[in-house]
Symmetry: C2
Subunit: 457 residues, 2 copies
């Protein structure tokens, strides 16, 4: 936990920005898996963690901006709880550590909200919170998202987007856990092994280092499937394994790292050609990071390198800028270059992607690839973001575009047919925007062909 003062200051800033009304920050309940009492691992809501720091189920908090009053609502433990889950510090004690000196039973929250003239809330993403909010505020569940407080959302984004020095310490710790996960995966990836065996090692490493998974592991020889959570394949010589896996550390800050590993001891020549295009995209994109540049520009810069590389290989032909404008690259990288990261791997995605990643009035593209770009706006000092270019050969998408005769003037579909069993490559690091540029978080993680191959021996 950070210092008491940190939490007090965060809430004071929030009060000043929001200006008036009652701010409600709902914590998360336990999440049932296959019956009420068999739950997934507990994960507190990130806004609650940011302003109130306590990782405990069944809490919610209010901040009365007008009176300055702050209350955490929750129930104290009973003797039955102590038998089943052990002795716990009281809620009152835990609240004091984050500078909140008033606690109330959870059941009293509804009447507190009823007395407020204006309740600011964020869009709930868990159904139990949707349901509670709907009952308390008498708003149909289907309208909760639109009735959420834009001023609260903007105020939170205006705080959480800028990572403090003490947050960066946590984020570097998270990335360093990721580093161990990825190095272990590189060492253990071998023909004949199942993907889930390596996923097990990756997950185990996160836990062993006191962390948890920040998001479900992607470890697949079918890297062309962007969010592939299937781990049932046996790895075979000559394939690439794409490993997109990250930990959150004990303070719940996320790392999000991708590396692509040859199943064999060495990359093939074809793999090296594609891999080095992606590596060049990543290095150039990172090099360009600094305050004042739009991240959309960096996305396009990386995609230009992609098209140039494919042009050199004869997979596309024609004017690169023209292809870029028309969106040919969507066939090869149908996702965005990156996103904000912090307490959430897609930071603050619960608040709405456009609030986090787009400036007011900045339009989101509908082009394949760009439409999935979560962060497009001008970068500022203190932002932390991922840079994660990829290059994929997605047979179903190639077939679709070819059958639609899409971009036949640019795409060499005949030659492309030779790559249909290639899979995909993605390389990803997490970067802080500094006053005069950028910094890659954490200790370096093997990334060049030589570095990756060296771990395979």
């Amino acid at each position: 936990m950070f210092s008491t003062q940190t939490y007090i200051e965060r809430r004071n800033t929030l009060k000043r920005t929001v200006g008036s009304g009652l701010i409600l920050i709902m914590g998360n309940e336990e999440a049932p898996m296959n019956y009420h009492d068999n739950t997934y691992r507990y994960r507190q809501d990130s806004n609650f963690l940011y302003y109130f720091g306590i990782s405990l189920a069944n809490l919610s908090a209010v901040i009365d901006v007008d009176s300055g009053e702050e209350i955490i609502f929750g129930d104290e433990f009973s003797m039955d709880d102590i038998i089943w889950v052990g002795p716990q510090p009281t809620l009152a004690d835990q609240s004091r550590k984050v500078g909140v000196y008033r606690t109330e039973p959870y059941a009293k929250l509804a009447s507190k909200l009823a007395t407020a003239s204006k309740v600011h809330f964020t869009p709930p993403y868990r159904y139990e919170n949707k349901f509670k909010l709907s009952e308390w505020l008498n708003i149909p569940v289907s309208q909760l998202k639109e009735k959420a407080s834009a001023s609260l959302i903007k105020a939170i984004v205006a705080q959480r987007s800028y990572k403090s020095t003490e947050e960066i310490v946590q984020m570097e710790e998270a990335v360093n856990i990721c580093r161990e996960m990825h190095i272990a995966a590189m060492r253990e990836t071998k023909a004949g092994r199942k993907e889930y065996e390596i996923a097990a090692i990756i997950h185990g490493k996160a836990l062993e280092l006191g962390g948890e998974l920040a998001y479900p592991i992607i470890f697949s020889i079918n890297g062309q499937t962007l969010h592939n959570h299937y781990h049932g394949n046996t790895m075979t010589e000559g394939r690439l394994a794409l490993n997109d896996s990250g930990a959150e550390n004990s303070m719940f800050y996320a790392g999000d790292i991708t590396r692509t590993i040859p199943v064999s001891k060495k990359f093939t020549e074809q793999q090296k050609e594609i891999y080095n295009i992606v590596l060049q995209m990543e290095l150039s994109a990172i090099e360009a990071l600094k305050p004042g540049i739009q991240y959309k520009e960096i996305h396009l810069l990386a995609n230009k390198i992609l098209l140039e590389g494919l042009s050199d290989l004869g997979l596309v032909k024609g004017n690169v800028d023209e292809m870029l404008a028309e969106g040919v690259q969507g066939l090869f990288m149908p996702h965005g270059l990156g996103h904000a990261i912090g307490l959430d791997v897609h930071d603050m995605e619960d608040l709405g992607e456009n609030y986090v990643g787009y400036a007011e009035g900045q339009q989101r593209s509908t082009q394949l690839g760009l439409k999935s770009l979560r962060l497009a706006k001008e970068l500022e000092e203190g932002y932390v973001l991922t840079v994660e270019p990829g290059l994929y050969f997605i047979p179903e998408l190639i077939d679709k575009w070819q059958s639609e005769k899409k971009f036949t003037n640019f795409v060499n579909y005949d030659k492309l047919a030779q790559y249909k069993d290639f899979g995909g490559v993605r390389i990803e690091d997490n970067c802080l925007i500094t006053a005069d540029g950028h910094q890659i978080l954490g200790k370096p993680i093997p990334k060049t062909i030589d570095e990756v191959e060296a771990l395979k021996n």
Copy 2:
């Protein structure tokens, strides 16, 4: 997946038992962790798995008992889905494999339900399903549990309680994964290591063998806390580590195993005395398992051995049967001896514990320990259940009883004070009730003091 015929027969049996009306079996959605799209690992509902076999989010199914019609409601994949999650067999193809030949878009389910004169449903445990059901059937969320169909619940319990030969094959596989988890934990438990390092090995082993955790790991030097999911302690010489961890296999059948391990290479004499009481409780309870005996009787048998053992050590005094009747044992084992296990670690707990574990009219005790007994009724061939006696020294509970002068005629509180830092011991196996007795599932897992110590060297 089991054979098509298996699923067809299960549904036919269900139809015959329920008799009339429309049976609704809701599948599970993805469960959001810290925002909508960052989800926990997917776990399908166990009733859906039992009758429809498909482990895929956003499905629900109906069985029209009167017409015999069976429909799975869900949406086919789009090209966007293929890009993000990969090519998938169509829902229609997957449904055919479980003998269902009609699928409909999910949006059509509401109107199907609206035309039914009677909809049988089970009590929903996930909020999104509560919410959907409430909307569809116009029943307030708070009344869904009482409005659930008792005839459907009883019909499901009447099927799922009896494990078929093909289910037992799966359950033995699950226990054999547990075995590797526990052996690894015994080998790696050492002074100086963090609990979470061992929890990581346990979890990793489940994943490496193609399974998943069936429930959150309990691995703790504070075994006296029954459901202790905190793994932050450093293990120290002379403590006991209690490991209650189990896998579900790739067919989602659960194993639930507990062993207690000395952190040092050997048990101390005091630990041996307590450990051997629990071992005797477990072995005697298993020995007594057979069709026709009430599980409550076996719970009491184990507790009698507990009291006899503590009497020999001078921790309690007086007539054992009298103590048993009055509930003195609740101080030392404040939980039940075991529960049904199958697709759920507490099998069918979503349907209601009493439906699963108690005969009609059989009263549940309010005594500490017995009140937590999930399975009390007469055993029958085909049941699978856990046998998990424990013996704990819970300082807060001892202090409470002593201050209340509870059972001062039976409990030697002065001597008990010497055990307040002991922790707890639990030993657990999974057993099938056979025609003439019982069978412990899976390969034997080290259990005696000698067997456990042998792995520590």
